[in-house]
Symmetry: C2
Subunit: 147 residues, 2 copies
DNA sequence: TTACAAATGAGAAGCATTAGCAATAAGGAA
DNA sequence: TTCCTTATTGCTAATGCTTCTCATTTGTAA
């Protein structure tokens, strides 16, 4: 009946475990973020969620994003200063490289960041909770088009 | 006559060199950012600028910030997602460590970031134009208060 | 099935930033 | 110095993302 992809049911279960109520809206938002190759903003998530659930409201999307963030299900990224982007909390830590020409985002692993983290923590007597490395530049194609 | 601190005159000269018109508003904004220990947002710059020039408008502050950024006189930073912060383009490259408890910002140098930059550029065939490292955590005092 | 708190939808509100436009002032030419 | 041209300003309204409000609906544990 309800478009049984099965995956949505998995999402509901994942939500139940966390202790918050497993609503359709939340299951769909989680599904959209999981499928989408990461790096979706609130409005894009809203647009995709409406395909499954035309009446979902943008407010709910925002609220859900906040809830997921607090639960640690997703990460919030700030590539530009106008939007937030969201991705499923990744299994392996990674950083982002953004093309200023076309907006393409490349993920890369960064083993050095762990060393940096330790160094900085020690030198400043801080407890460091997160390290974010953001690089910008131009991808091969955009570099060519520029000249 | 006009509150001759001398420094403002220096600012005007610095502006003339760049080719844009050296207005009082621009000189004062540059002065405020130079004096302020970096990391001021638009509204704080506006508040401080008004001490010297009560009629300066917030729009002008924003426009000036954009102009300075384009000229490379200042850097724009995104510590939290709600504001931009500005600092004079620093002589030595540095990164930022932000206390989630009290908001304190510590600057640190990061020689490793240059190596990271080269590695990432090579591996992804990108021309990398900027590397930003942002760490968050808790300073000694806030760590204590937390428990 | 019932009861109650949690979550939703719709719209208004908030807030940093930008745009539009008439008035002003900077800087080069005369 | 004075004049002209045009960049820049101040004011206000608009924009765009995000959060808030509140009446209504829904999930969940008895
Ligand atoms: Mn990613
Ligand atoms: Mn700094
Ligand atoms: Zn590109
Ligand atoms: Zn602190």
């Amino acid at each position: 009946m309800e478009n049984g992809t099965g995956s949505l049911e998995d999402d509901r279960k994942a939500l139940s475990v966390t202790g918050i109520r497993a609503t359709n809206q939340r299951a769909i938002v989680l599904e959209v973020i999981s499928r989408g190759q990461g790096h979706l903003d609130a409005d894009e998530i809203y647009r995709r969620a409406r395909m499954n659930q035309p009446h979902i409201s943008l407010s709910t999307v925002y609220r859900t994003l906040q809830a997921f963030k607090k639960l640690g299900l997703i990460d919030e990224l700030h590539f530009d200063e106008a939007h937030h982007y969201y991705e499923i909390k990744p299994a392996f830590e990674h950083q982002h490289l953004i093309c200023l020409g076309c907006g393409k985002i490349v993920e890369f692993e960064c083993p050095l960041s762990q060393k940096m983290k330790k160094d900085v923590a020690r030198e400043n007597d801080f407890e460091v909770t997160s390290v974010e490395v953001r690089m910008t530049g131009y991808c091969p194609q955009c570099r060519q088009d520029r000249t």
